[in-house]
């Protein structure tokens, strides 16, 4: 039992922090949602730097161009990148598609798709949800019909992050409408410039263009772009392959935000002339949120530790996601409250405090408990898969 990182792991952290300090200027750091073209350029620039360092695919096995880094190193990397608000990490290619291809792809697919991801040269996006298939993803309806060497795809995908920046999309389609719903789905790949694919932006409530609806109209996808077996796409997608599932990003983000808020509270006087950090209500909230952060981080570490020991976390990963997403909502919500009347000012507004980030992220994080499996679905999973309660 050891509740601290090893000297080697700390050495990696030190190297990373030094790189951040020396190589990533302050103006490149930020929320990193790549909403503007300028932010996107920054994103790509840092990504290429990460690729050069080998850090973009830190956890990939060496045979596919990764570092085969131990789990805890990847956790440290994620923690520090988030804490310092460094852009450049890329989940869709490096963490979602790549492991899928490593297991389910053909040798040819691996050789074709993995190297550009490792070099940070290609942006992937993920086409899973559809307008009528959210929590009940397996009910998806987008059709792919067999037509000679191709599938012909019709339908639409929604909530597709970065579709407007992406070069390629991996997506799920229904290839057998008569089979039980989980057994008629296939997993395909396509370039975003394939004729018939069009992208419509969706603006979120924070005013950002964060995702899209992607329409497929008679899109021809060569059969060689099928990953895994025909009609087994649900299982290809559902295999829990991610290199790092700990969810440590959330507590790292929360810790950074709390640190910023504590600094603000120390340096800002309340109506009584004392620093806000001496206000008992505010003090108490800081302590509570700090415990909540610590809780989410502890479970994240536990998930990583399980992965490091070759165990497959399931209820723990759902716990981590549930805790982490609630945590960031709570932290930004408190941040907005702490700023009082100023909490309502948007980024860029005159008089905005802490760059308006609290409000912007409070609005943004509304979706965190919804996307990638709602909190309700996560709790269902914990109860049934984790605790063995019977399904309803």
């Amino acid at each position: 039992m050891r509740y601290e990182f090893t000297a080697e792991e700390e050495a990696f952290r030190a190297e990373l922090l030094e790189w951040i300090e020396n190589e990533v200027p302050e103006d490149l750091r930020g929320i990193g949602r790549a909403a503007s073209d300028e932010e996107w350029e920054n994103e790509l620039r840092v990504r290429r730097q990460l690729a050069d360092k080998g850090w973009l695919t830190l956890a990939w096995p060496t045979e596919y161009g990764g570092q085969g880094a131990p789990m805890m190193q990847q956790v440290i990397f994620n923690e520090e990148m988030v804490y310092h608000r460094i852009p450049g990490r890329e989940p869709f290619g490096t963490r979602m598609l790549a492991p899928t291809l490593m297991v389910h792809g053909t040798e040819e697919q691996r050789r074709k798709y993995l190297p550009p991801i490792a070099r940070g040269e290609v942006q992937w996006c993920q086409g899973y949800s559809e307008p009528d298939s959210g929590s009940d993803l397996a009910s998806l309806q987008m059709r792919a019909v067999d037509d000679g060497d191709d599938f012909v795809v019709n339908g639409s995908k929604i909530w597709t992050s970065l579709a407007h920046r992406a070069d390629w999309i991996f997506f799920l389609v229904r290839t057998d409408p008569d089979a039980p719903k989980h057994r008629g789905i296939s997993f395909l790949l396509a370039p975003m410039d394939t004729p018939g694919i069009s992208v419509e932006p969706i603006i979120n409530m924070a005013g950002h263009h964060s995702f899209n609806q992607v329409f497929f109209e008679d899109v021809r996808v060569p059969k060689e772009n099928l990953v895994g077996e025909l009609n087994r796409g649900w299982y290809v997608a559902a295999t829990l392959l991610d290199f790092e599932r700990s969810g440590v990003d959330y507590p790292a983000q929360a810790r950074r935000t709390l640190d910023d808020l504590i600094e603000y509270a120390h340096s800002t006087l309340g109506a009584d002339g004392e620093p806000l950090s001496k206000d008992p209500d505010i003090r108490r909230k800081f302590v509570e949120l700090s415990i909540e952060t610590d809780a989410a981080r502890s479970i994240a570490y536990e998930v990583a530790d399980m992965q490091a020991h070759g165990e497959i976390p399931n209820k723990e990963a759902s716990m981590s996601k549930t805790l982490g997403t609630k945590l960031v909502q709570d932290v930004y919500g408190f941040g907005v409250d702490l700023l009082g009347m100023y909490g309502q000012l948007r980024p860029g507004s005159p008089r905005a405090v802490l760059e308006g980030r609290m409000l912007d992220m409070q609005l943004t994080t509304v979706a965190f408990t919804i996307f990638a499996g709602t909190t309700e679905i996560q709790k269902n999973i914990i109860a049934t898969r984790g605790l063995g309660l019977p399904r309803g």
């Binding site: 009940d136 409530m205 109506a271 909490g343 948007r346 005159p350 309700e376």
Partner: protein, 378 residues
């Protein structure tokens, strides 16, 4: 105890519902969010014609002479419709401040124009620290040969860009407790240079400004109430505004609940409406319960202020509760709506942004809980 609406009140509520259903649709709300002024002349004219601007203005000055209860019924509907515009600044804050604290000359001069919709008012109180306590008011007002000279900066001045008349709190003395040297002034917009105003970009439809008062001259008859006696008057107006804001929030909460109920009945996942899932049902039940409490607290406070009863508990309880619950109801609504409610295209986010604004206006939950602690002798 009788919690039912009388005939007049029902009429007020129904006519508000009818008018807003016709005049304020989602397109109007969205257009106005991007509009510099935030409302159309047509809308404002209709509101005045309906008599809403003068709802709590005494009849002898052209108003309807109604109480905060009736005004709250209208505000609830406006909150439900998310109707934008300077109604709150004018028909609530301005109408009350001048009706309750003005002298006869001031009432005759301003109220008929306010009632007819010609005069838009704005409250300029908050300064740097944005505190709702007396100590936060530091703007200086010095006597001069031509009356008073105001110097200082006000923040979160709502609707300053379109206001004709500002109600300004300034400090007319430096000694004694901060409550005892505050004076209210009526400052005509024409005396302030426009380039002294800067618009803040806020989360909701508020038109908040920073207004820099540099040597602004107020004639002697611009004093509202007594010199050095402004704070108790301002407190009254702030209390009324807090309750009125609660009424808006009740309307917004109601709409968020209704939208959610409608959605979960329609949205099908796993082969059945998601409203059949117990987690959804229980969350909806909690939203509806909070809404019911919110409504009771709000109208009790409106009744207490209208009747001159109560000791402040009703007001502070209502605002403390609503400040938290409107936001929480919206958060629950988002969770039950899933991704669709997170889009700018969907109406729900309009209400959650309104909630973020309303929760801090006229004192946040922390402020009002502190008031309650004092009232409880703690």
């Amino acid at each position: 105890m009788d919690l039912s609406l009388d005939d007049t009140q029902q009429l007020v509520r129904n006519s508000a519902r009818d008018f807003l259903a016709e005049s304020v649709d989602r397109l109007y709300v969205r257009d106005m969010e991007d509009d510099e002024r935030g409302y159309t002349d047509e809308f404002w004219k209709s509101v005045a014609e309906l008599g809403w601007t003068g709802m709590i203005v005494p009849e002898q000055h052209g108003g309807a002479g109604m109480s905060l209860i009736e005004l709250s019924l209208v505000l609830e509907e406006m909150g439900a419709a998310a109707a934008p515009g300077p109604f709150f600044s004018t028909a609530v804050v301005g109408a009350h401040a001048i009706s309750a604290h003005g002298n006869d000359d001031q009432k005759s001069k301003y109220l008929p124009r306010l009632v007819s919709g010609e005069l838009i008012t704005s409250l300029a109180i908050l300064e740097g620290g944005a505190s709702w306590e007396a100590g936060g008011i530091r703007m200086s007002a010095r006597r001069s040969e031509d009356g008073w000279r105001l110097n200082g900066e006000k923040v979160f001045v709502a609707d300053a860009g379109v206001a004709d008349l500002f109600i300004v709190a300034a400090r007319t003395g430096e000694n004694g407790p901060p409550e005892e040297s505050i004076t209210l002034f009526l400052v005509e917009a024409s005396t302030i240079e426009n380039n002294k105003m800067e618009r803040l970009e806020s989360v909701a439809d508020d038109r908040y400004y920073v207004v820099d008062f540099q040597d602004v001259v107020v004639p002697p008859d611009g004093v509202l109430g007594e010199v050095d006696g402004g704070w108790p008057l301002l407190k009254q107006t702030l209390d009324l505004a807090a309750v009125a804001k609660c009424a808006e929030m009740v309307g917004g909460s109601r709409r968020a609940v209704d939208m959610t109920l409608e959605y979960v009945k329609e949205r099908v996942q796993f082969g059945r409406p998601i409203g059949t899932f117990q987690a959804v049902q229980h969350r909806a039940a909690e939203m509806a319960t909070d809404l019911e409490i919110a409504r009771q607290f709000t109208y009790r406070a409106a009744w207490a202020l209208s009747e001159g009863k109560g000791d402040g508990t009703e007001v502070a309880t209502a605002k403390a509760f609503l400040s938290e619950k409107f936001s929480e109801i919206c958060a629950s609504a988002h969770q039950l709506h899933g991704a669709i409610g997170y889009t700018q295209e969907h109406d729900l986010q309009i209400y959650s942004r309104r909630a973020a604004s309303a929760k801090v206006a006229f004192g946040d939950a922390r402020h009002h809980r502190e008031v309650l602690a004092e009232l409880m002798g703690l």
